[in-house]
Symmetry: C2
Subunit: 593 residues, 2 copies
């Protein structure tokens, strides 16, 4: 297994050249002065060390050992506790937090790179702070000032962790069906009773307290998703002075045995008249959750990216070192018994597919993070515009980067041949770990429905227009550069295809209620490949002028060419499948399956 | 987890209607009288019971427990030994064996269906008898009469097992690099010394003896793959009277910890001056291995099929029972809190993709088995023709059915949402188990190179012509039926596309040695989708006339329609990628990866 080496060069390229982040950071009203290029680079460098030296070495042992559940208490695998302490001491939990309560107020564009490194090192580890950050965001945005002051500083420190309690055995995608009850008490608190499953980090031995954000229904709540409220339920009640008080009525009943992310405790939680406090308004719990959803979903996309990068680094090293057979054009290293397998076109296809999907995935997550930052720190029309972009692009980033994550980790395993199937090489763990990212935080099928339905058909394509306009502006800007034609022309054709498919889908949805669902996953993939083409074209635009003098830029340009020649054509089949409509899907009776 | 129910209806349809197997069986010179429809059906029914009642229940417990290695001895998980005994008592090990030595001499067309059921129940279990059958085939074809008489009857019984010892740590794909030595002894035997890895069933506690077929090199052997010979090395030497004698110098040094197939022992084997006997001619070991390779590789394809079918049965049951959200067109079961998820177009897309890939995969493996039977039991030109078809189609069946296997099992897991990631539902195990089928017995990348290089470019497309002619004959035959136009026209277009791509690839290979490798995997997939279209068109041709009266036929026709509308379009992108050539793959220097 290769030693993990954070792709800092790629990250600098994106932040400083492709997206000129420091210019954005300097001018955004809510961010001015908080971060400059030097600070950002120093932060990235620190995380690169932490990820490589502290987190990465725990990944395989954590997978082997897994979490333990004994009499309601969860312990994490050896080393996790120390690593979590180091993480918290470094102040990483506060990176994106609200400065009023002890956060550092950094932009998500920077946070996205930091998250990638943590996830490359260990998705299991990354989940604990990721959930805390999400909970902090929900509390910061919706909770009362008293709750914020009481909880946020400790959560930014990492002394207390945060988790989300949504799913119930009979209610996953369809949260309107949850049964957990919240009964109002005279002191203004609520008594929470019910069972939740699949609660990531629901219990653990890393932090002193665990703050649950729980979806529950008041006794008189309307049926369905309009009757859901959000509650803060700590594992230990917090005294007025901020010290920990008595144990609250929330307990971990068991942990799941899973395909992967075994060092992350996936808990069944029982709320037995636990004391909780309302976050936000009664019956508006789902909306409160949605605040953090965009961040969480991009974060899951970044998990797919992180695992892909780790797998790629291993596969690249193996392909350079493993000797087997001769190159088709004749021996490349005649002094050895065989050539390194990187001489073989098909091994190159696998590695370049990884490299191309990873490079574009990193760019797309940075691009979405940029819109999140503008939506958070910007004002007026610009803010509104960014909110539309975030709404549209979040499901694409979540689902497409994680679907690419499975493809990338499977390819990285395949490069190893039989050794890829053996645990000691680490490649098979990455496949198992990344597989959850396509499932949780809304399955990728649900992301696709969100993209097609709520984000596109429901507004007549208004958000889509924002994106298409952005891509078109780039095409218009770069169209005059002759050397950019190899990228601009196919990008333009891809955009045109996506526009047509989008328009026809919006039209068909009016007559056929099944049209959006029938097209959704292939439409999201079509969107994803065009978005990746846009990202590679933007990277090529910056890299081309320097490709003669520097290997890094040369590599970027050549990877872009591979993407356009070999991966972008996937849009053709996707468009054809989308156009096929819902007929053959809906025409078959359930009993004929 | 659904109870496994063997798809006997589908198998009968293929054998008796689509491929009219009994007519073939009746007329093949080497097979006449050995099997009729009634016998075949009875055999299928027996295996359906064995698979469901004896093998399937061991699959998850075998995965949880895994194999054990203690001081050189391997023990299999609880229950395997009893199941293996039941299997052997049923005479299943003799099914395809040579009647001269106790085999039943049944056709592979029947064997393929039997194998699918075993593999649906447990790939791990299936591997033990599968390797024995392969070893028997190699011995039957190449070994001396004395070796055959001594070993085959016990191996058909299953009392002794057979395994293949090919791979060494530094020599996987490139077997020319193996270092295991074979020194001739005065008594005509050989002293075998060396280390092998990834030996499936290299040691176990199921059979009384284990017969290793080992690739090794004589001291004066030519370098590379032309210096490889094949040896039979039993774990226990066999006395003249057939009883077991002393322990031979072959030992299991360790077993691998793997992603899946955990109940199958993957062994590192040490040969320490072990006594062995030559099988076939000196230095022609690879050719001897190739005899069984076509059977083994189709067998691995069938593993992918078996896992897909199991996953599909689970997913179908779950989709019919799990209620969550409402159908896009309005409530379908208004009396319930939500509709079963099978009402959702995207869930149907996942299930139908499974069903369509499984149906065509079963048909393709039966079709290839048909050619194997004609090659084995036929004569003259017909036999020669069949050998060409087998050579061409084997890599497609191995790689395409197993690649589809990963897609199918991942989809079957996705239908379950979060529950698909949890071990208890079994869906994640199928993903882990099936993943090996894309890797072993020659990775799917190697299969693709074999298809493009040795099987197509090397003979100027002669084998391909045989296949294209077969498809064209079907098109000509069915083209006149108006109701078949929806299948025949796109099949014809697909064939045309495949022909053009094949011709241009053969042409390009003359100028560019990297062209075949650069196109190989996408070319194999293109071939696979056209072959599946041919299979669905053949099934539709038989099902259409009865689709009005019978649900089974109706389901076949509707699945065929789905395949043509939603999956066949994948050929468009694949053709575009193949046409892109090797340029972008080879243009990037190794250090720029």
């Amino acid at each position: 297994m290769a030693e993990y080496k954070a792709p800092l060069r790629e990250m600098h390229f994106l932040l400083h050249e492709v997206f000129a982040a420091d210019q954005l950071w300097a001018r955004l009203p809510g961010l001015a002065g908080a971060v400059e290029r030097e600070t950002a680079d120093a932060i990235l460098e620190e995380m690169a060390k932490l990820a490589a030296n502290t987190l990465d070495p725990l990944n395989r042992s954590g997978d082997e050992e897994g979490c333990h559940w004994v009499e309601g208490e969860v312990t994490t695998p050896a080393g996790m506790k120390e690593a979590y302490a180091t993480y918290c001491e470094g102040g990483w939990g506060a990176l994106l937090g609200n400065p009023e309560y002890g956060g550092m107020g950094m932009p998500k564009m920077l946070g996205a790179q930091v998250e990638e490194m943590i996830n490359s090192a260990s998705i299991s580890f990354a989940l604990y702070p990721m959930l805390t950050a999400g909970a902090c965001l929900a509390i910061d945005t919706h909770a009362s000032e008293a709750l914020k002051q009481k909880y946020l500083p400790k959560m930014y420190e990492g002394t207390w962790a945060g988790v989300m309690d949504l799913t119930e055995p009979h209610a996953g995608t369809d949260l309107g069906m949850i049964r957990t009850k919240a009964e109002p008490q005279e002191d203004g608190s609520y008594r929470i009773t019910g069972s939740k499953i699949f609660i990531t980090g629901g219990d653990q031995d890393l932090s002193e307290n665990i703050v649950h954000l729980v979806l529950a229904k008041l006794p008189d709540a309307p049926a369905g998703s309009r009757g859901i409220s959000l509650f803060l339920v700590p594992k230990y009640l917090v005294n007025e002075d901020g010290s920990l008080g008595e144990r609250n009525g929330v307990h971990c009943g068991s942990i799941e045995h899973k395909m992967g992310i075994k060092a992350s405790a996936t808990c069944a939680m029982n709320f037995d008249g636990a004391k909780g406090w309302l976050v936000g308004e009664v019956n508006k719990g789902l909306a409160a959750m949605f605040t953090m959803m965009n961040y969480e979903r991009l974060g899951v996309g970044i998990q797919g990216l992180g695992a892909s990068e780790r797998s790629y680094q291993n596969a690249r090293e193996y392909a350079l070192e493993r000797i087997q057979s001769r190159a088709p054009s004749g021996p490349q290293q005649p002094d050895k018994a065989a050539d390194p397998i990187i001489v073989h076109p098909d091994v190159r296809r696998m590695l370049l597919t990884q490299k191309a999907l990873i490079g574009a995935g990193r760019a797309l997550s940075t691009y979405v993070a940029q819109w999140l930052d503008i939506a958070k720190f910007g004002e007026g029309e610009e803010k509104q515009h960014a909110e539309g972009m975030v709404a549209l692009l979040t499901p694409v980033a979540k689902a497409f980067i994680t679907d690419a994550g499975l493809e990338c980790t499977v390819l990285g395993q395949q490069v190893f041949g039989g050794h890829g199937y053996i645990r000691e090489w680490g490649q098979e763990q990455l496949v198992r770990d990344v597989r959850i990212t396509q499932i949780y935080e809304g399955t990728n099928g649900i992301q696709a429905l969100d993209l097609v339905g709520r984000k596109t058909v429901a507004n007549g394509g208004a958000y889509f227009e924002l994106f298409a306009t952005d891509v078109q502006a780039f095409i218009d800007r770069e169209g005059g550069r002759e050397e950019m034609a190899e990228f601009v022309l196919p990008l333009s054709a891809g955009l045109q295809c996506l526009k047509e498919v989008t328009a026809s889908l919006i039209a068909r949805a009016k007559e056929d209620p099944n049209a959006p669902g029938a097209a959704s996953v292939e439409y999201l993939h079509l969107f994803g490949y065009v978005a990746y083409a846009y990202m590679w074209a933007r990277m090529a635009a910056k890299a081309l002028p320097k490709a003669g003098e520097d290997d890094f830029y040369k590599g970027q340009v050549k990877t872009a060419r591979f993407y356009f020649a070999r991966l972008l054509p996937r849009t053709q089949s996707l468009a054809a499948s989308v156009k096929a409509g819902s007929g053959t899907l809906m025409d078959i009776e359930a009993e004929l399956f």
